[in-house]
Symmetry: D2
């Protein structure tokens, strides 16, 4: 299924007048307060977030999975699904592949399809947390950190394969999420596991094309429940530094211990020029992988406040790879992703409204009350008209969820694909 | 110091036009969507939150305290401070006393002063977590739960004294926060401590006037770091039920283990008709006692969504005692309280915007996406014009922090009281 | 496979002398300190823990599962596996079935098999967290709490079916673990969900035979990540009380928020006569379902200290249903269970060594240091000789893990069943 | 008060025979299993832990403090108290001073007193989390990280003063615990605060004598409740690396987010040669500062397992500065410290019993069950006879708590000092 330009225009008709009233009123008010509304809208239009190929079907838990209808069962269909989201929102212009779930059979055809939908190939993801049917070695006791050299070599080679696949598609980054760790005290020698991981990463790093990045993800627990080799940003940064200048830390919002101050981590990594990527989701208890902004939208805003600060003040830090990494257990995956994209744009828009000069002044004066007023002033602003305008300018719809429903996208997908398809992967 | 009517009018002059534009635009939009704006504003005006007498001076931690200037050093001055806040915000029309820190020397004079400032006496608080200079028994090893009968009797009598003091001032509720517990395994017999607490509470309950309530607070830890006798809502409810119909559970936002779903607790207690009071603050790590809404404003909104639902659907539950219970370590306490009051009103206003009928329908249809759209739709609305209008209608100022500063309240207080006063209490 | 008496005797030969030396030395020391060693050993021999039928195969996470060899694929084989564990340890004399995974095809044959291995049928477990292939209704949005009456009725009927199956086998309890909840704010109406759950439980309760118990489990999160209907002991107890005298709360060690004081919960429930069952496991982060005692053995001891106290002082509380509820992701499931059983016996033995009279005295004297000395004195004792003796007396082996390995049980099972069998269920 | 040699001998008389029986039995068993008991006992004797000068009086919380009797009120008396503990336990042969609470008036006299009691001066601690009466600048909004240069300079100079004081006493390390951070979003610019801290630390580092170390402590929260500049080991290590080879990370057990795997942090820091010091205490909820080993003794053992591994395998890591950092709210501080020392020795002794070769082999074989058996085998051993022997060999008592009580130390101290003295400091 493909959304037509005409459908977009049709969808916007009924709400255009109301949008314009709201936008004009807000823009006028913001301009009076010294904001460059045009520039803000333009930044919002430019902001693109990758959709991972595994997020287009229903997710589940260890207790089971309730499947959804009309799920994509091929890479082509996954890209079509992203195309639908991108046509509506104009913010999902990239896909992040997971190997071996998404190995293209025809590279040229896949690239053509993605090009036609204006979708780029962002970071590629390797998988050494599951055994593949034909694998010689098992990852049950670790992969890049394994005491067994043969296992490490298989895992290293897999990552190199992933780089090669990504290279053919135009990707420029490899994301390594290493699930390795231990379930019980004594199972792992922490030092050996860490050293092996460092050595394995260096071997992978050597295979990295010059214009590529390696993004090292961290996570405190799950699927291992006693220790994880790359347990926090400190470990990730140490390993990235051990590889070289093209290796960076990747932050996933859900991969932190309770009560972590994530915005500070993000900020310090940018100061050091070592924040390479960011995975969006939300959570209340652990790595719950819920819709972005559904649980702690203010924390998301505070993180974006640091990201915006970094983009403006840290030339030493590269452009970031943005991706949504959520699991869709009870919602239509495409609607879930649309809600996530809106929450991201909202947090970004509000962060762009923070008056950085006034904030700096208040900080210098130790005026804590004023600092809070400045942040909350931006946060309390209803920025939906700005986001609508950014979408409109880029050729998207004013209200993506409404449009998705009135166009009956899911109904069409079920008609095309049948009810009981299952997305590959998890 | 006392804010004059004229000062309020003066303060509103410059921002009145802008407020009216914003309010009209918002009210118009909300009315179109079926909201009864007048009723919402009226509810906001009616909502009153008690200020505890101990929150008017600087707070601290076990590592020390940085004092603030012009703090009130008598009960009269504390009530004057609340008078200032109430004049500006029109939402702080009550004081919550802490005994023995606030025993009036002249009841009639204190009542008169409070009446003149339109301030009521809300729940009174007892203190059995500290020893008083002249006390016969020590609370080092517990008070109402102590194995030693003499200690329990002293603590019971103290609570009865508190009731009597409150009675003379027009209070209608006693709040019991029991710090009792243990720092080490084995120190306490859990069952005996619980049974003693139940018996002590029953003795206090017997002294309760007919039109009074007893509010039983819970907290998982601090100042005891292994166990707390009333550790959660389950324990509090059990004890309240053991006392009788006038005993209720009191929820303090900061008194929960990490990641607790507090809105569900609030909801179930209302269903059972047993939620008696609510203490506002915010926190990231433990009982941090930060400004309301400064860390997790969406969680506060979700809680208010349940409170509003309960006020509309649970006649079995009584009116609640609302209070701010925060510690002001780095801000001017009065400004801190004003920011808290605004955050409370904001959450309340947004909860009043939730379309309960549409939500119910979406729930029946298992339309999870729509449910979220409804809640977020309300939350994303910029409700500041509604709050300003509510304050204006009640005789307050449009922007309390600005007014507080332009009137140089703190400067006046320092002039009147001197720099190095210290608020009684903690 | 079945362990023969002769194999047990053979296995004990080599370590018997060393065991006797150790036991004599310890028993002598303990007797001198006033302990009744014979009685302690006898209590250890009597203590029996149920093995759930789903714990005999490899477990996994939402990221996948690494299977193990020789797993049981029928109910008969599962019971045989428990028979192996019980022959060696003499503490696993019960099985807890999960319906629909374990519906017997021939009741008489299954009972006979279990009888022959000296295994009883403990509490039966219902499953309304997954859809069955032929189910008319889906549990995707809840079961007993669902807004849809047809779904609730299906779930109620399933629980009644489970009771009937259990009844034919001699079970005397139904365990209800209700996964119902919501993943997003707004998805559920907390009050309606709670009320529906109460009504559904009452309907199930009505079908309960007179000599049965209903055990209501609670859990704060997972598989739902925003709210869970029965989120804590307070909610569970409220629902149990709403059903009647035969309904009790069941505590699972892993089902608590971070830092919960579980021993206090256990203690207060016993005081009220409402603790019905206990599920053992261990965890560091969430409901990790690790081997019992592998992470926090002292916490397990403190819990046992309360359980022993309750068994001795709370006649109002019934005998408990004990069960291991762990997931075996990286160990041989049978070895994992054996390690769990040993950890349970160890904690129980140490709790039996606590001098309750001395502890009471020290508590009365507020001698916190002494209280700790008493608990730690018991905990620091090496009680392995007592456990070995208890096993020997009952006909088991001195060292179950060694015996399991030297008898090459797993090798036998693979020979019998083949390598790539998969246990039914999760 | 000073414990006499004769008193020690007297104290040991009654329990000597029983100790010898227990020790011989255990030593014999351990030797059979290949352990070098003599070497273990000797290592235990050599292990010395510093007592901080502020831990000799009663601690408290922000809710108040219950004082204790006979507290030391001068530095001399504090050292005498440590002398008492050291005479009994022979493991507290060092004091860690806190400036400005412990500035000696007569250096020679203090050194002489400490020498006579066989007490060394370990790391000295600076204090920039409180304002001193005569200070020109306030630390209310930070010290080494403050935006105000004058404040930073005052804090830097204070640290240099502390080095100079320590130098005169023979200390060889400065511990910097930096409480700086923020209570509210926006209050701090994370990057500026971090950069300022780095610059300030470099200035302090320059004043460090050649044979000194700088130990950089980290802590996630408290007394600041939104952000802390040095929030975790990653930040500490980054700052230490920014200073130079003599700067190290210091780990305090209580300074971690819930569920942190501390042993892994300790292990990786040793691998990198950057673990400089360790502060012992225990906790259930936050930085509770409870008696060592009173809540999670197994976690302490696992940490010691890594420390022992590091001491044996990481020559790149220096000798560590060991210190107890607990708060004594409900126990006699001296008894509390004795219990902590015993718990430390117990964990150390058990870690020394871990068969590192067998563990390595089991790890290589991915025999997770065996790995656990090895660790638990060591942990379950009752090592009290080894600790008693180590104390005896060094001239201490068999049972320090008993001896302390039978010698009526506290009674003596009250007689000497009076009841209502208050220890300086917190």
């Amino acid at each position: 299924m493909k959304i037509q330009k005409q459908q977009v225009l049709e969808s916007n008709k009924s709400s255009l007048k109301s949008h314009e009233e709201n936008f004009d009123f807000l823009a006028n008010k913001l301009s009076k307060n010294g904001h460059d509304v045009k520039s803000i809208v333009s930044k919002l239009s430019d902001f693109q977030v990758a959709i991972p190929s595994w997020a287009l079907g229903a997710g589940g838990t260890r207790f089971g999975r309730f499947s959804f209808y009309g799920e994509p069962s091929t890479l082509e269909q996954k890209i079509e699904d992203i195309g639908v989201i991108h046509s509506l929102t104009q913010t999902a212009g990239a896909v992040s592949l997971h190997i071996p779930w998404d190995i293209p059979s025809d590279y040229a055809a896949i690239k053509e399809k993605a090009d036609a939908l204006n979708i780029k190939f962002d970071a590629v993801n390797s998988n050494t947390f599951q055994d593949q049917p034909d694998a010689a070695e098992t990852y049950k006791y670790g992969s890049l950190s394994n005491l067994d050299k043969a296992v490490r070599e298989q895992a290293i080679q897999h990552n190199i394969d992933v780089i090669n696949i990504g290279d053919k598609l135009g990707s420029k980054a490899l994301t390594v999420w290493l699930a390795d760790g231990s379930c019980f005290p004594g199972q792992n020698n922490f030092q050996t596991a860490f050293q092996n991981t460092q050595d394995s990463l260096i071997d992978i790093y050597k295979a990295l094309p010059d214009d590529w990045k390696m993004l090292v993800e961290y996570k405190p627990y799950e699927p291992n429940f006693y220790s994880t080799v790359i347990q926090d940003w400190g470990a990730s940064l140490m390993l990235a530094n051990g590889c070289g200048d093209k290796a960076y830390t990747l932050v996933d919002l859900g991969h932190h211990l309770p009560n972590s101050n994530i915005e500070q981590i993000v900020s310090i990594l940018q100061l050091k020029g070592k924040l390479g990527g960011f995975h969006f989701n939300d959570s209340k208890y652990g790595d719950d992988d819920l819709t972005v902004g559904s649980i702690k939208p203010y924390a998301l805003f505070l993180i974006f406040n640091e990201l915006v600060y970094g983009m403006q003040n840290n030339p030493q830090n590269p452009d970031l790879a943005w991706m949504i990494d959520a699991s869709h257990n009870v919602k239509d995956p495409l609607e879930d992703l649309i809600q996530s994209l809106e929450a991201i744009q909202e947090a970004y828009a509000k962060a762009l409204l923070v008056d950085q000069n006034a904030l700096k002044e208040a900080q210098l004066a130790h005026d804590v009350v004023k600092c809070q007023e400045i942040l909350q002033g931006a946060y309390r602003t209803d920025v939906r008209p700005l986001i609508e305008k950014a979408r409109l300018n880029a050729g998207g719809v004013i209200n993506p969820i409404s449009a998705y429903r009135s166009l009956d996208v899911r109904g069409q997908l079920i008609k095309e694909r049948g009810k009981n398809t299952v997305a590959t992967g998890l």
